[in-house]
């Protein structure tokens, strides 16, 4: 039986989809069987970030409504064969998702995969609730900004109240992933420090992803950063986060991009 992981945040634009792709690829590279599911019906992005947008035939809604079998809708990644994608529909309305349909699809994915990673839409509406509904584990993605932190806090409350586990009186295991972190700006108090975020949210930290060109570049060419540039600071942070999700004890550090030769000659800030 696989584990169901929801990547969620409340706020939009904090890096849920990027993190879903990067964590999925990182887990898959470690030999795990992984499926990433896009729950953002109507605004699907995960196919783009995974570089599979030209290969979408059937989607989550087709499977939920019984128009297609799960196996028909799954898109296997060309770079890592243990990684699959179940895309969202771009044209349909999210009301087409039913509770029973979602539960059935997730149950089927659980049988087939070690990890079922659900990429939640932003907000706290039905779409986000459906994405978190079956979760055993949650990764709460937060930027070091007060608005993002408060939205995450709201989502954590919902994870404790609105999931199937919560209804059964069990807990969803929650982890914090701080993204777009800039240590120098945090030092200048232009950003919240990681300690502040942790103090407010009080859930365990699984990674700090630095603000990085590499992440943006990787998203734009349709390749998760953990595939595109596995030695970059951001990719290393995602690999470590994936190991922590598997239960390994790894210390969380603020990863730094190792300065290249030119960078070392001219100091850290070239631009």
């Amino acid at each position: 039986m696989g584990k169901v992981l929801v990547v969620t945040s409340g706020k939009g634009g904090v890096g849920k989809t990027t993190s879903t792709a990067a964590l999925g690829a990182a887990l898959a590279r470690g030999g795990e069987n992984v499926v990433v599911i896009d729950f953002d019906v109507g605004l699907r992005n995960l196919d783009l970030v995974m570089g599979a947008e030209r290969r979408v035939v059937f989607d989550l809604i087709n499977v939920v409504q019984g128009d297609a079998k799960l196996a028909q809708a799954l898109i296997r990644d060309k770079r890592i064969d243990t990684l699959s994608l179940l895309p969202a529909s771009q044209t349909r309305d999210k009301d087409a998702l039913t509770l029973e349909g979602i539960d059935k699809v997730i149950a089927e994915c659980r049988e087939k995969f070690d990890w079922v990673i659900c990429d939640s839409p932003a907000g706290i509406e039905r779409g986000a609730l459906l994405a978190m509904r079956n979760a055993d584990v949650a990764v709460v993605v937060t930027n070091p900004k007060v608005s993002s932190v408060r939205d995450s806090d709201r989502i954590i409350g919902m994870l404790d109240a609105k999931t199937l586990r919560a209804e059964r009186g069990e807990k969803v295991e929650k982890h914090l992933l701080v993204t777009r972190y800039d240590a120098s700006r945090a030092a200048r108090n232009e950003m919240l420090k990681v300690e502040d975020v942790l103090e407010i949210l009080s859930i365990p930290l699984i990674g700090i992803i630095p603000e990085s060109e590499e992440v943006l570049k990787a998203s734009n060419i349709g390749s998760p950063v953990t595939i595109n540039n596995p030695t970059s600071a951001a990719a290393r942070a995602y690999f470590n986060a994936a190991r922590r999700l598997k239960g390994d004890q790894v210390d969380v550090v603020v990863p730094m991009q190792r300065p290249g030769f030119i960078g070392r000659l001219f100091g850290r800030r070239v631009a």
């Binding site: 806090d153 709201r154 409350g157 404790d160 109240a161 407010i200 009080s202």
Partner: protein, 293 residues
């Protein structure tokens, strides 16, 4: 002839009102000063002569949370169902004002006034009726009909067994400890952080939170509020008109503190108390905050 200025006070002590003697004071009055808007202030600021000083009439708005009971015909069956419900949770209607919505009772129904009397005999405190038909015998004794509100109000689940009135909205947080049937426990313990958007309301006594209260969360207690963590959201103590209630927290970063209707926003809190362990209490009509050492 002496002339002096009379300034209407916004924060006068509540006068006994006909309705809700216990009160469910969801009212807030400012703790400090008066918001000075010259146009508005002039209405309260008048010149009177000593000889014709009259008692100042104080008016204040107050909203009351009332339960709405909507009986259905046949009324006897409905009463039986109500009795069964009250047997399961005998304290449910205690001290709660109730409005009876008679909208679904047909016009030709007999004995509506007697029916209301039977409700009252069961300890239900009826403060008014809605949708009553004037042709019913003796109905006027049950107070003037309230203006019919368009919104039916939120459905409230009666508690399954006799227990604390921990009405938590919008997400229900079960009390950390289950209360044995029959025992009156006047405290609610929350053993986890209160997250943004959550609201914990406990009218019967104190609330203790082991953890922080997030920005955008609120904790409202009939008694005192104790937060063993950082208080970033709102804390309201003395909800049911209890000026002796206090608020305690390990670290003050609250958006709002209120005790018995007197409130203080973050801007009004003394800078030296921010970030410190504090207690807040009422000294007359002013809120005092002191740092706990």
């Amino acid at each position: 002839m002496r002339r002096h200025h009379v300034l209407g006070r916004f924060w006068a002590q509540p006068q006994p009102v006909a309705v809700g003697a216990e009160g469910y004071p969801h009212y807030f009055v400012p703790a400090l000063g008066i918001p000075v808007d010259p146009a508005a202030a002039s209405r309260y600021f008048g010149v009177v002569t000593t000889s014709d000083t009259k008692p100042l009439i104080r008016l204040r708005g107050r909203s009351i949370m009332a339960l709405v009971l909507a009986p259905e015909v046949p009324l006897t069956d409905w009463l039986n169902a109500l009795d069964a419900q009250m047997e399961r949770s005998p304290n449910f209607f205690d001290a709660r004002p109730v409005v009876v919505d008679l909208g679904s009772v047909p016009r030709e129904q007999q004995g509506v006034a007697q029916f209301l009397q039977m409700l009252e005999q069961r300890g239900i405190r009826i403060i008014g009726t809605e949708g009553a038909h004037p042709s019913w015998d003796g109905i006027e004794a049950w107070g003037r009909p309230l203006p019919v509100s368009a919104r039916p109000g939120r459905e409230i689940e009666p508690p399954p067994a006799s227990s604390t009135t921990a009405a938590t909205t919008p997400q229900s947080l079960p009390p950390a400890e289950s209360v044995p049937a029959g025992a009156e426990v006047n405290a609610l313990l929350i053993d986890h952080p209160v997250r943004s958007g959550q609201s914990v309301v406990f009218e019967r006594g104190d609330i203790t939170v082991l953890g922080s209260v997030a920005s955008g969360a609120e904790v409202m207690a009939g008694g005192s509020v104790h937060v063993y963590g950082t208080l970033r959201g709102r804390a309201v103590a003395g909800l049911a008109g209890h000026p002796g209630a206090r608020i305690f927290c390990s670290k003050l970063q609250a958006e709002l503190l209120a005790i018995d209707g007197v409130y203080l926003t973050a801007d009004g809190m003394p800078a030296k108390a921010i970030g410190k362990p504090v207690q807040a209490w009422l000294d007359g009509e002013r809120m005092k905050i002191s740092v706990l050492d």
